[in-house]
Symmetry: C2
Subunit: 254 residues, 2 copies
């Protein structure tokens, strides 16, 4: 078998944030599979077949990719951001584990990308400049009680936090509850940032506090970053800078 | 003032993981500042001055960069990985906040990069494929008691965890204590990965369990990743794949 699967991160949207490694893999591929808007970012060319599929069919898509590779195709599975952060890599490995044993002989590589949280953090300044966590707020694949437990423990640990998939149209109440939990655990002045469509033409960054934040500030295109107790703002003429200092004094343990 | 500062992430080492945005910034720069081994990755050319400095002078280096930009220079501050993850962005903003007020008028951008944790995760499979946290284990800038608190709460939250700066020559006891805390909080079979020099010629990935891990498996060039309670291994002919499934059942809350 000369086929392979590369699970590639396209970054948050701007082509200047796609790594040369990913660009080279796309240039070599015979087939690209992925969610419709991500496949739309790949240029068509002779010899390349694009297989765009809808959301929530990650396992079908993964099986398709592995099967094509087993037939000798060179397959790139595209994710936005980084494929290992709430994206396609885990889905491909789930399909691999439950699939035919010959799939395990395939060459499978994960090509990292700029995940939304880091692009958003860069735009705001350096809010994740100290210890941090990342939580997927969607309860499609895990119970809400686990999300609540993680939110409370992360706040008690005084991590900066990044939230992916904060608010879906079908379940808007999750982010309402998230804000309630955070207000219960953190002070009202705690900084919270809403970064929508980072690096794309419709990018919008909004800096607020827990006291002033409303659920409508987030949608599924938004990454939400909550600072630690030490995250600060530098005011200036242009957009303010939000950052978390590297130093934590002995007496301040969040 | 036409000067600017761009705080750029060079990724973990492989040039194929440097974003085109960072490459373009380096091509436009008049001055590059950074820690010696990172500045050594920037090609010399006419019109570009390289300012390499030693470790632990991050604030001096940041002040130098801001001062040069105030004088009209185009300055790139280089970090390895992502500048917002335990790297130079927070240091530059600390220097900005305490510096002359005219520095606040400067154009300052953070250019994200592939941070070591995501490169290491990609090499192993997808161990951070679910909720996760990142902790800097160095106690140069924070008390050890805060590190211990975060380790315990992160284990109780059942995050996958990535550790930066796990073990310095001057303070090897920190990682010994880290392993003790993890053994106290997690089961002996918990997966732990040691990823050294990821994407460089001397890359070495080692997969172990908490029961079998020893402090010597880590040094300052290593990123350590601890799986969640649900992280699994797929055995195969080549290197095994380590990944965390996306789905968590209702009855299993870590």
């Amino acid at each position: 078998m000369n086929g392979w699967v590369k699970i590639a991160g396209l970054g948050p949207g701007d082509e200047a944030l796609v790594t040369p490694e990913v660009t080279a893999a796309l240039a070599e591929a015979t087939d690209v599979v992925g969610y419709i808007p991500y496949v739309a970012r790949v240029a068509e060319r002779p010899g390349l077949t694009l297989h765009a599929s809808d959301n929530r069919v990650e396992i079908d898509r993964s099986q398709h990719a592995l099967q094509m590779a087993a037939e000798g195709k060179k397959v790139v599975v595209v994710s936005s951001g980084d494929p290992g952060v709430f994206a396609m890599a885990a889905a491909v490995f789930e399909a691999l584990e439950s699939g035919p044993s010959e799939w395990r002989d395939l060459q499978i590589d994960v090509l990292p990308g700029i995940t939304a949280m880091l692009a958003a953090s860069a735009r705001a300044g350096a809010p994740m400049g100290h210890d941090f966590c990342a939580i997927n707020l969607s309860d499609n694949l895990k119970p809400w009680s686990l999300i609540e437990k993680r939110l409370r423990l992360a706040a008690q640990a005084d991590f900066s936090m990044a939230f992916y998939n904060p608010r879906s149209k079908s379940r808007p109440e999750g982010f309402v509850k998230t804000l309630e939990i955070l207000r219960d655990e953190c002070e009202p002045e705690r900084l919270i940032m809403f970064a929508r469509a980072v690096s794309r033409s419709d990018e919008a960054i909004r800096i607020s506090t827990l006291a002033e934040a409303t659920p409508e500030m987030a949608d599924m295109q938004t990454v939400v970053i909550v600072g630690s107790s030490r995250t600060r703002v530098i005011e200036r003429k242009g957009a303010p800078i939000v950052y978390t200092p590297r130093f934590t004094p002995d007496e301040d343990q969040g």
